[in-house]
Amino acid sequence: MNTELFRLRDPKRARDFQRLLSRLAPSHPVKIVHVCGTHEITIAQYGLRSLLPENVEVFEGPGCPVCVTSTQDLDCALQIAERGAILCTFGDMTRVPGSRMTLEEARAEGADVRVVLSAADAVEIARRNPEKPVVFFAVGFETTAPGTAAVLLDNPPDNFFVLVSHKLIPPALAALLSQEPREISAFLAPGHVSTVIGAGAYRPLAEEFRVPIVVAGFEPLDILYGLSLILRQLREGRAGVENAYPRAVTEEGNLRAQELFREVFRIGPAIWRGIGEIPDSGFYLREEFRDHDAQKEFGVVGRMGEEKPPGCRCAEVLMAKAIPTDCPLYEKVCTPLTPVGPCMVGAEGACNIWYRYSGRPRL
């Protein structure tokens, strides 16, 4: 294996960071929010919370693309699948409850729902089934959106359609910061998304909301380093953007990928499960691509309003207002095998990760 990775898990350096973090320990409680399932996996898997100063808490906010996909969008996908199209989407998506049922249940009742690993796989299915409409239910943040854009720019077959549910991360951070009273002290920004949008994308936010934002990678030392930069900023009363993942993330990001989604998508308001409508946080197909727009082709519209299972606190988990163990259903009735809310379904959902890697506030 890559020796670089081992270096980023070096126990001695980790101890140095632990000492550094305790020297930087804030005098008042601090709440740091990250928005990335992979960050949460590293934090839980390596027990990083146990290395943090006592008054520092780290929450996963709306970092799981599957979890934040709205019931409305899911209902559209269900209707499309029930009308005889081949519906392709990512694995976890098939298990998330819509207002009536999950895509998996629709499949059990005869709908053709298929799991794909990329938009390109869905195009391939469309080519092999020219007599049937094939719809790619496109979920994910700025990381997966360029893949969807790329296939649309590459002359997909006429029977290929996209149901777009891609979302943007920076507007979601703004929405969390706009909540009153504001509880969030800083953000640990997601490495993957930032490789695409660049560290610079967070600068307007940091300035407007006076909040430290640090981009971090996914190895344990990446995260400890990112957290130490945040604590230092808080201590010094600074609020800026810093990049703790320079080996992958640049200031301007991946310009080619940004060009791709600008060409294909326009930006508009989107509904996030648990949070509600966030302005300028959703991607929509531009007029030039209407021939591949599943929503137009099938004329589907999701029913407004959230269906929330009784007792489920996913909404608060996604808002970084609760941790999984705050939920009365967690581990008792809600487990990855019998998920109640979306955060237990998605492999990047906080509840799912805490269950699998035994995440705890502290051990």
Binding site: P11, Y46, L51, L117, P220, P336, L363
Partner: protein, 341 residues
Amino acid sequence: MTRLLEEKITALHGAGGQVMEKLIAERILPKFKFRAAGPIGLDHLDDGAVVDLPPGKLVITTDSHVVKPLFFPGGDIGKLAVTGTVNDLVVMGARPVAMTLAVVVEEGFPLSDLERILESAAQVLSKLGLPLVTGDTKVMGKGELDGIVLNTTGIGVAERPISDAGLKEGDWIVVTGPVGDHGMAILCARNELPVESPVGSDVAPLWPALAEAVATGGITAMKDPTRGGLAAALNEMARKSGVGIEVEEEKIPVRPEVRGLCELLGLSPYELACEGRAVLGVREEKLEQVLAALCRHPLTAQAQVIGRTSREYSGKVVLRTAVGGKRFLEMPLGDPVPRIC
């Protein structure tokens, strides 16, 4: 006999009578070198076997084996069935004395595969000098069964039987070699992953390798980490013994190629099955003696102390991670499935 009867299992093979007798006498019995552990054994084709028991407590274990694929890098279902039962006896602190083997096979199953499977089961037994004392063959209709199921029952004797519930506060936790090889080999052999297995299964009988360590009397609890891997074995031992277990991630032996692939696939090597390893609880004053005994055998020469029991976290397993963090090592949720996105 028609050609069909020579090549594939048919309903006639399971129907008693001549065809069955011929199959057993010609193809099955001769493969097993040791066929009796007392006055009545396999050759008598009687209703049961009679076994002369050495002194000690009688230990019995039984297991039905299904594995997909039937043949995998490092072994096959035949080797696995016999080995699994030997290992279940050994981790109970018992010396294996005799074994039974029942074969349930689907109509149409290739005879050559059946022979290959029994041959590899026989090889393990011959090497150990362990007799197969009785057996049974059943044929089920096409589609009533997926290929073949083997059931093995083992009997052994133990001077001081060892359970998986005997851990005491302060015991050291030892694992006899790298974990996760079997699980990884099977996952890769299923062709569900885009990679070939970097390792073969570790399937191997723990007898006689563990004999000397058992004889020290220093082992307080023992378990073979099969399904659910090390994580399941440790959790069961902690829960049943009413103690906490703290293990150091850095001490747990995992082959780098297994760890690397786990990382790639989002799996935990601690949840992958082993078929040739044991997890031991060892009393402080006997630790050196047990480790020395383990190191004398190639199969257990890589034995490692991975942690210790504690009063804290009773019934739970705490993992001190590679970077010094702490978390619970939970009971695995189900069979590991590679993460896809």
